[in-house]
């Protein structure tokens, strides 16, 4: 086995038992790591009782997995997974940073965390020294204070473990803010200051386990690769290909706040009431003025799409965040009627400090603001906050209430869909039509109505994705190609950054996988068998769902009502989606995925892929008759 450390850590926080676990080669060959392996592990352990597992109970698992490409591929990530408190299915949520590398250097391919700690705790790993430590001093603390504490305490601990080593580079960590501690379903798992695994809401899963942070330090080296020379050659090749894409290195996604509005009419504006704007104040150049560091990458990254923004003067002096990237420019900007970089940076900073996912919290804030605009939620309902579009102070105050579940925040912290259901009950009218989500997950900031956004080339992108609103894992036809979900599964399972792979051919990725692992894998085999198998499992678990919500196959594979309305402004004004074409694509996709006309995996598909137990389970749940 090459490219893998060869063992996982299984930690039961309830009994404080820590043990090493091996995964057979055959499973690794089929499921690779990250998202794929997480799906398999979840199915094996929780599959039989999936519908009754509350994602926010001790029963749920938190999986933090690397993949074989983690650490070698120039662009590093780690995959966080479990039963999602947003979709009630499985979402493979990746976050950048060196945590995966440190973990592998420490000798582990991943963490399988079960149970619930009695007291707030954090997990400390330094090579084979693994310890559950007390986190009460940082419980309730925001990002910066948490990071400061973790750096200080861990360095002290590492010095005890390796006395006389000299100056130690601080370890990597994943942590949650107040948002996760309070089990807000919009909570992210954060790395560094603002890198976040937001989709899925795994910050809340950590909070439900009383787990504040994970710290890893590995003195290495990384596990051996199968063909070192070829791996190095490919890295060289990738570097060259990547820096030829100068634009992405220059701007990251930070020029998107203007571009996706003005050029492709696909940016959320005031809770998706519009998707077009031409605000010059929101151009990349205007953000550039606040970038104190224009190329910031994680270990080995040739793309460096990250920028560091700092507000050096003015009302919000001291605020620091990365970029903001496009998703935050839109969801914590245009979606809230904010068209000033300074205010957007401040709100991103607030969101980072609270440990809330920028997309999920921006969506719920925009939703609340539209209800305020329509007079459905009053100032009284909002604890005295007048939630006017563009009022950054008001949004910051509400974000804080959401993360700490105070007043109206308690409802909104349930995420956009669940909050809409509650507010509908509270007000006795249907506000679900204003909730822009896909199966409980707020949708990425790439609209589909104009048909011109390259992220969502097919209108079924969100509706048919097994990760629902995740814009990095959209469904597309034909089912096996670069922009299809099956290719996204490769990225999330081998665990590398797809931003650093944009300049590469599909073949490059599979070649690299082979050079690292020594295991042959063709693109065809991946699309027709292995990725398809992971897709079936994710789809099955998404449909089984529960306990609070169960999505109906086909009926819930639907777009938010607003997306069926014609675009109200811009060059694409009046343009709307064609229902017939949408339904046709959907059916075609179901068919290609081996699902029946309702989108439920067919028995023969499951049998062909060796997933007989999934068939049994789907029958039990009356999903297949």
């Amino acid at each position: 086995m090459r490219g893998y450390a060869g063992k996982f850590l299984e930690i039961d926080l309830s009994s404080r038992a820590i043990k090493e676990k091996k995964v057979p080669d055959s499973v690794l060959r089929d499921y690779i790591g990250g998202r794929g392996l997480a799906t398999r592990i979840l199915w094996d352990i929780l599959g039989s009782t999936w519908e009754s597992v509350d994602p926010l109970s001790s029963e749920n698992m938190l999986l933090v997995l690397t993949g074989p490409l983690t650490g070698y591929f120039p662009g590093t990530k780690i995959c966080v997974s479990g039963k999602s408190p947003q979709s009630n299915g499985v979402i493979g949520s990746t976050v950048a940073g060196e945590f995966g590398i440190d973990l592998k250097c420490a000798g582990y391919d991943g963490l399988i965390i079960r149970g619930k700690a009695e007291q707030p705790c954090y997990l400390f790993i330094c090579d084979n020294h693994v310890e559950i430590k007390e986190a009460s001093p940082i419980w309730g603390k925001k990002a910066r204070e948490t990071v400061r504490f973790l750096v200080k305490e861990s360095l002290k601990e590492i010095k005890d473990i390796r006395p006389g080593y000299g100056e130690v580079i601080e370890p990597s960590f994943l942590y949650i803010g107040p948002s996760g501690e309070n089990k807000a379903r919009i909570a992210a798992v954060t790395s560094k200051y603002a890198h976040a695994a937001g989709y899925g809401g795994y910050g809340a899963v950590m909070g439900a386990k009383n787990l504040k942070a994970l710290v890893a330090k590995g003195f290495g080296p990384l596990p051996d690769v199968y063909d070192k020379e070829r791996t190095l050659d490919l890295v060289q090749e990738f570097l060259v290909k990547n820096f030829e894409r100068e634009r992405f290195r220059r701007w990251g996604t930070g020029a998107g706040g203007y571009y996706f509005g003005a050029e492709t009419s696909s940016e959320p504006i005031r809770n998706w009431q519009e998707e077009w704007h031409q605000e010059q104040s929101y151009k990349g150049e205007e953000f550039d003025k606040y970038w104190v560091k224009k190329n910031w990458g994680d270990f080995g990254c040739p793309t460096t799409c990250l920028k560091v923004s700092v507000l050096k003067d003015g009302t919000y002096e001291g605020a620091i965040c990365d970029n903001p990237d496009y998703e935050l420019e839109s969801y914590l900007g245009t979606n809230l009627g904010i068209f000033t970089p300074e205010k957007n940076i401040y709100l991103s900073y607030v969101s980072n400090e609270l440990g809330s996912c920028g997309i999920q919290s921006g969506a719920v804030l925009g939703f609340a603001a539209e209800l305020y605009q329509k007079g459905i939620l009053t100032r009284e309902d909002l604890d005295g906050i007048a939630l006017e579009w563009g009022d950054v102070e008001a949004f910051a105050a509400l974000a804080e209430r959401i993360a700490t579940r105070q007043g109206i925040g308690d409802i909104l912290s349930e995420g956009i869909y669940r909050a809409a259901v509650k507010i509908s009950e509270m007000k006795g009218l249907d506000v679900l039509k204003y909730a822009i989500h896909e199966k409980g997950v707020a949708i990425g900031a790439h609209g589909i109505r104009s048909g011109r956004d390259y992220v969502t080339t097919n209108p079924i992108a969100y509706a048919c994705s097994v990760q629902a609103g995740d814009h990095t894992s959209g469904a597309d036809l034909p089912i096996g190609h670069r922009h299809s979900e099956l290719f996204s599964i490769m990225g999330d399972s081998a665990v590398y950054c797809f931003f650093a792979a944009m300049a590469l051919d599909n073949r490059d990725i599979f070649n690299f996988y082979e050079a690292v692992t020594g295991w042959e894998l063709t693109e065809e085999e991946w699309y027709q068998e292995k990725a398809l198998r992971i897709l079936q499992l994710q789809r099955a678990m998404l449909l089984l769902g529960g306990p609070d919500i169960t999505w109906k196959p086909n009926l819930d594979d639907e777009l938010p009502p607003r997306f069926w309305e014609p675009l109200p402004s811009g060059p694409d004004k009046g343009r709307s989606l064609d229902r017939t074409a949408f339904e046709k694509s959907k059916l075609e996709y179901f068919n290609a995925a081996g699902w029946n006309e309702n989108g439920v995996p067919k028995p023969e598909t499951l049998r062909n892929l060796g997933l007989e137990d999934v068939e049994v389970k789907l029958r039990e749940a009356s999903l297949i008759s």
Partner: protein
Amino acid sequence: MLVPGIEIPHLCFQCEDYPCVEACPEGALSVIHQTGAVKVDVETCTACGLCITACPGKVPHLHPDGSSIVICDLCDGEPQCVKACLEGRWNALTLLPREKSISYKMLAATPKELTRKVANHILGEKTTKEVLG
């Protein structure tokens, strides 16, 4: 990461008076004449750590296996880190000739000192203070 965006390589500056070489009781450290880099004789080194204490920047560290000290030897005049940095076009590291008029020892600093200094400059004092405490 002490401060986001301010991850600085922490390397030997080749002080003019080589306090590390002076401090070694075993004579395991020597100066490579051609490059000015410090060479560690891994056979003789006992990993006592006195060179770390003596270094103004606390640059030397133990090899992860604990057997000897690691100090940058400038890869015999062709530093691979500089090569990698230029190949990846990050262009942050450059190979410069050694100048007699520069006091290299004054540049030596611990990672924390270096980070604070650069961060103050780039992020501003207020943010740096809030980040580093």
